[in-house]
């Protein structure tokens, strides 16, 4: 089923918003004003977007430390996200979570996660709830190649299969876990090969190609909504920046990132494809570029100007009642 023009515009806007958000954070982090650990998703946008384009209010996602893209994809407010990353009182989590703990349960975004492999059990739970409550919803867990080895991830694949959950597991294989190569840490050829060990379909997809991701995601979501159970999808993709901001990436090949940016950038590819097929015009895309740039500019400006959390907030929000 081809995407409508509106959907194409929406997808481009989503990808572009993620990219601008991350590129801008990279710049702002260097000024020293952003506290803590910040893991950027730049380069991987087609994955979050290809999946989230299929989701609606019934659906939930569990994310990881590299969670900005997933959050934007699932509809979290960009201003509130930016304020959160700056640790401001009006942040999405009141400034208490920061980049590694962005969440908006009202949007079905169950949280970034500071624990590698922490998200998949939670996604199983969301899928179980959808199934028990008969909402028709699905749940997606996004995690990395490094996380794919973690016991929690593999246990979750098994549990989702045993319980036949509407759950989709997305390995975003960017080739590295911190400095360690996925070729070293993942004992099989493709992380998706493990699907058969849990009796579910396993799919490898080019994560730089929004359309490829979108199609694979669509099938998995359909399968899940129809009660046919979980799917494991591996997106092969690349991150442009270091593991976290501050990482000089000397473990990567010379010019590795430069070449990637020049040749397989997911936004460039999208633009080339939709314009050459006359689905969207350069001008239409440029308009979005301009709007997104303004959005991100505004969000940074507002975040910087926003007040810190009130000191009393230190002791709130830990228990509902005591």
């Amino acid at each position: 089923m081809p995407l409508s023009k509106d959907e194409l515009l929406k997808a481009y806007r989503m990808m572009k918003t993620i990219r601008e958000f991350e590129e801008r954070l990279h710049v702002e982090f260097a000024t020293g004003e952003i506290p803590g650990f910040v893991h950027l998703y730049a380069g991987e946008e087609a994955s979050a977007t290809g999946f989230c384009m299929h989701l609606d209010d019934r659906d939930k996602i569990a994310s990881n430390h590299r969670g900005h893209g997933h959050s934007i994809g699932k509809g979290c407010d960009v201003d509130a996200m930016m304020a959160e990353i700056y640790g401001r009182g009006n942040g999405l989590c009141g400034g208490k979570g920061g980049s590694m703990h962005i969440a908006d349960l009202s949007k079905g975004m169950m949280g970034a996660n500071g624990i590698v492999g922490g998200g998949s059990p939670l996604a199983c739970g969301a899928a179980l709830a959808a199934k028990q409550l008969g909402t028709g919803g699905v749940a997606i867990s996004f995690f990395g190649d490094g996380a794919s080895n973690q016991g929690t991830s593999m246990e979750s694949l098994n549990l989702a299969s045993v319980w036949n959950l509407p759950c989709i597991f997305v390995v975003e294989n960017n080739g590295y876990a911190e400095a360690t190569s996925s070729k070293y840490s993942v004992a099989c050829d493709d992380a998706a090969d493990r699907a058969s060990a849990f009796n579910m379909p396993g799919v490898v997809v080019d994560g730089h190609d929004f359309f490829a991701v979108y199609e694979a995601a669509g099938e998995a979501v359909k399968r899940a909504r129809e009660g046919k159970g979980p799917t494991l999808i591996e997106c092969k993709l690349n991150r442009y920046y270091g593991h976290f901001e501050g990482d000089a990436q000397t473990y990567r090949g010379k010019d590795e990132v430069k070449n990637l940016r020049a040749t397989i950038d997911c936004l460039d590819r999208f633009r080339a494809k939709v314009t050459s097929a006359d689905l969207l015009s350069e001008a239409e895309l440029d308009v979005i570029d301009g709007e997104v740039a303004a959005l991100i500019d505004g969000s940074v400006e507002k975040a910087k100007a926003a007040p810190m959390p009130a000191p009393a907030e230190l002791l709130t929000d830990v228990y509902i009642s005591y």
Partner: protein, 336 residues
């Protein structure tokens, strides 16, 4: 109407009544539905000691067997709790928390705070603890001090069938993550339990015996050891007040302090290992908040700082007993 039923039955009844009342309550754990996929009798087990037996028959797929993957299913319970269900997950023995602690303390416990109030996680983790079963070092621990250390977890340790039912119902209705600790040696203990559902609020200790000379603060199975000691001491004309904490987090410090202000002496009795435990917790709070009332040093009676041994004679020595409590009380009374 109250009947005499066991601690184990009280727990089963609380589960059944809450599942009846609220469709979003579900159960999961190893063999809690009796052994899925097996060719013989349905609902053959109800968890390893039969606590949930019969619930699968009544509630069908709201009672779910799990593979032996505690991280995955405890985490699933946590995730489901943020998505509209009120899961009760069974962690068979508290000793197994080491394979799934992350989902308890970094996920469930922290969501609400990390997400700025933007999450509720009404999950209950029922688990069996304590020594006395000759189950050795990996199946006999207390470990609730570890959970008590963690902000965001509520920790419940019922000592009687009445409390087990009322505290479990409160746990299920509570909107925070609760670790519900059942002492395996108490399952067969009988007591009066009302038929109807009732909830016992958290953070309200129970003064189970009034007295003037010494306050004994305790919890769980040790409550009964404290009473045994108090009975014996009464014959020596020493009058003990016994405080059952019921929940270690939140902990009812007011009741503890009030009692110590009356008696002037404190013995803390806990089956846990001695370091960073409930015993040190209660002692430290009293030494800070009620120091002026103290007429004598505080004494702690705990298990020793060793793993739980297997041999019957060693395990019996390991578990704090009434004799040790009596000795501690005599010491704080200056009568040793």
């Amino acid at each position: 109407m109250a009947r005499n039923i066991s601690y184990q039955q009280a727990i089963g009844e609380a589960l059944a009544q809450e599942m009846e009342r609220d469709e979003t309550v579900i159960l999961m754990g190893e063999d809690v539905a009796g052994g899925a996929g097996s060719p013989g009798e349905d609902d053959a087990w109800g968890g390893v000691l039969g606590v949930t037996k019969g619930l699968y028959g009544k509630f069908g797929d709201r009672v779910m067997d799990t593979p032996i993957t505690e991280s995955a299913f405890i985490g699933a319970a946590v995730g489901a709790a943020t998505s509209g269900l009120r899961p009760v997950a069974e962690l068979m023995f508290i000793d197994f928390m080491g394979v799934c602690f992350d989902q308890m303390f970094n996920q469930a416990a922290k969501f609400r705070y990390m997400f700025g109030g933007n999450a509720e996680t009404p999950v209950v983790i029922r688990t069996m603890y304590g020594a006395g079963f000759r189950a050795a070092a990996q199946h006999s621990q207390c470990l609730y001090p570890v959970f008590t250390h963690i902000p965001g977890l509520k920790v419940v340790t019922p000592s009687t069938p009445y409390d087990a039912k009322g505290l479990l119902i409160q746990s299920i209705r509570d909107n925070d993550p609760v670790i519900f600790c059942e002492h395996k040696a108490l399952y067969t203990l009988e007591g009066d339990v009302p038929e109807e559902a009732y909830a016992i609020p958290f953070g309200e200790a129970n003064v189970t015996r009034e007295g003037d000379d010494v306050t004994i603060v305790t919890l769980g199975r040790m409550l009964h050891v404290a009473h045994e000691a108090a009975d014996a001491l009464a014959k020596e004309k020493i009058s003990c007040e016994v405080v059952d904490l019921r929940t270690t987090s939140p902990m009812d410090t007011d009741t503890i302090i009030e009692s110590v202000e009356n008696t002037g002496r404190l013995v803390v009795l806990d089956e846990s290992h001695p370091r960073c435990s409930i015993a040190t917790d209660v002692s430290a709070i009293v030494a800070q908040e009620a120091f002026g009332a103290l007429k004598a040093p505080i004494r702690m009676v705990t298990a020793p700082h060793v793993p739980v041994p297997f041999a019957e004679n060693l395990e019996d020595l390991y578990i704090p007993d009434a004799g040790q409590v009596q000795q501690a009380v005599r010491t704080v009374m200056g009568k040793d």
